[in-house]
Symmetry: C2
Subunit: 386 residues, 2 copies
């Protein structure tokens, strides 16, 4: 534990990398001959390896979910640091927490920016489009390496929640609890439409060069910025935007030109620009397709309930009132299918103005809900847990 | 009346153009020395000039609101032909209907594509950003030329509804009825955010050339296409998209690449491409700013009711249940302000899955509502009307 980090932090953490040389057959029909997965762990695996928890990241997340990479930069903790640590809802005194960067990512696991062994150049657009099922298979191999036969829980928000659900369907005997937060059973036509506009912004950027922009020493900045700005609108609620920005003009009065004028414009441009510096456009494209394709019911005659029928896990489903990307109605679809499948499921709809982003926020009722549920999970693992 | 057009059509129509050489002082501080307005009229102005109705167009509309420009092309009537004609809700046997292309447009009225007399080149980005108030002033001069001292009604949907409301505020004695359909008292932060992403898509297109693309023989196709695709998502409802497209794959199964795959993608790309061929990017930018700036309450200490207090018109406010661009809640804000201002106001919330686009659709309950209201207006004009 780092001396300077807060007492409820997992402190300084170091990513680790595992190389897998058993080929991985993907949904798309292609095979990855070998690949690397970067991951972090917090807490300790207990003697019977029964206290492991997998965190699955969403569209632009990565393996760095809690703690710090650098003591000098305590302002940049992992993306879900408010929820993971000693005494936090996902309590590292009880659980061995694992999070990996998914295949196709751009933060260390094999993806479009990695070198393609066939031609010694970055994969770029030749990296295969991976699915949530592919991710679950690759995460299962990581679990094997870590000595985790069965997860106490698989937890994720948004696209992460989809992975958590897929775990229970693909590997019923390897998951005791699924926490699916702000997720959906599959994307709606509107969800796909937003993804498609984001993709077109990137694909039509002259600096995209059919995905081979690495060879040209450029990145499709404009397209990726537009894509991220658009994404942000769908992450926030209308109420939240109104409360945060209203119609405030940065200079108090209209300037009648196309400079940044309203506060909300300034925020979106800043978010878009910052994202370009930390994320790869090919990975962004790929992740949006992974979202579009997620549809566990498709393998079961469009019957989501039949998909869940094979699951053995217990479920906690959480949604947020102002989330219009994956609204509470979508979570209730999941709950209905689980109930019809005879699964044990708890459902919590959390009042919030934060929109879809709420799943990352330290909302007291939300964190108490996770804490209460996971306290039960901890007791199953260790009856002496507090 | 054209022989081949349907009996309830206004038939073949020909746009007319008026030149105005009295300078027009604009909200932005600039002055248009002279300008042209293109317009169409249907029906006949009665002897006491009391039966004139003004239709105000929305973001991408124009003056061609009913009938046909070419008998050979009866598939392309005006944009609100289903509502305007003999026996239709806006009945041209009773009313003299006027619609003009707004200043800043790209369909014949003076705008960015017009020649700037100062340098004999297209205005492009030098065309001043006009406001809804500017439009109302220019429409008032058109009314003067047509001999219309007072409109029986000013009618518009979306941005058109904003113009209709502004008419009642700016020229209280010149409007007897306002029909504000699918409108809002001003844009929300989310509305502005969507406009801003659309603008950034255009502004960042390398073919935009700071708005001087005419000089380069190109148009910012990619940016304008992205902008229109995004717009379309906000015009449709989630329910409507689900009913129309669902998650249907064009080829029945995923192709694991970035070609058009889902039906909704194909629809959006088609809409985006078609728009580029018929609309000017500078006009699109300008119209989105006109929307952002509309805020009649701003002149009255943020009290919309005070703005309406000076109005003398009677109002019909119409909204559509699935419209999330300008939702029923926004129309109810207008109604509340009108009631508090002591104005006569009727409000109709029409059940529909068409989203914002509903205002253009021949929904029976909607058209019956317009018909019933306008029948009363017709009777005020002519007690012998049917």
């Amino acid at each position: 534990m780092a001396a300077l980090s807060p007492p409820d932090s997992v402190g300084l953490v170091t990513p680790q990398t595992l190389h897998f040389d058993e080929p991985l057959a993907l949904d798309c029909g292609q095979t990855l001959a070998d690949y690397e997965i970067v991951y972090e762990t917090y807490g300790a695996l207990n003697a019977d390896h029964s206290n492991a928890v997998l965190i699955c990241h969403a569209l632009s997340g990565d393996h760095h979910v809690a703690g710090y990479h650098d003591e000098a930069d305590l302002n940049k903790p992992g993306w879900w640091d408010n929820c993971i640590g000693p005494g936090k809802p996902i309590d590292t005194r009880e659980f061995f927490v694992v999070c990996c960067n998914n295949l196709g990512g751009c933060k260390g696991s094999t993806g479009p920016t990695s070198i393609n062994p066939d031609n010694r150049k970055p994969y770029g657009p030749d990296f295969p489009i991976v699915t949530v099922k592919d991710w679950v298979h690759s995460q299962a191999r990581l679990a094997d390496q870590l000595g985790v036969r069965q997860w106490a829980a698989v937890i994720g928000g948004s696209l992460g929640g989809m992975q958590a659900m897929q775990w229970a369907i693909t590997f019923p005997e390897r998951v005791r609890h699924v926490l699916a937060i702000a997720a959906a059973p599959r994307l709606s036509a509107q969800n796909i439409a937003f993804n498609e506009v984001a993709r077109q912004a990137i694909l039509s950027d002259p600096d995209f060069h059919h995905g081979h922009y690495y060879d040209f020493g450029v990145v499709p900045r404009r397209g990726l910025m537009i894509a991220r700005m658009l994404g942000h609108i769908t992450y926030l609620s209308e109420e939240g935007m109104r409360a945060k920005f209203g119609r405030e003009l940065r200079e108090g009065r209209p300037n009648f030109n196309f400079d940044t004028e309203f506060e909300v414009e300034s925020y979106l441009r800043h978010q878009g620009k910052a994202f370009v510096d930390r994320f790869d456009a090919n990975t962004y494209l790929l992740m949006t397709k992974t979202l579009d394709y997620f549809d566990p019911a498709a393998d079961f005659d469009q019957d989501l309930s039949a998909a869940f029928h094979r699951a053995q896990a217990q479920f906690l489903v959480v949604s947020f009132t102002s989330d219009w990307r994956f609204s509470p109605a979508r979570s209730r679809e999941i709950v209905r299918a689980l109930v019809r499948a005879g699964r044990e499921v708890s459902y919590a709809e959390i009042p919030s103005d934060y929109g879809h982003d709420a799943f990352l926020m330290p909302i007291p009722l939300y964190h108490d809900t996770l804490r209460g549920y996971l306290m039960r999970v901890a007791h199953e693992v260790n009856p002496d847990a507090p």
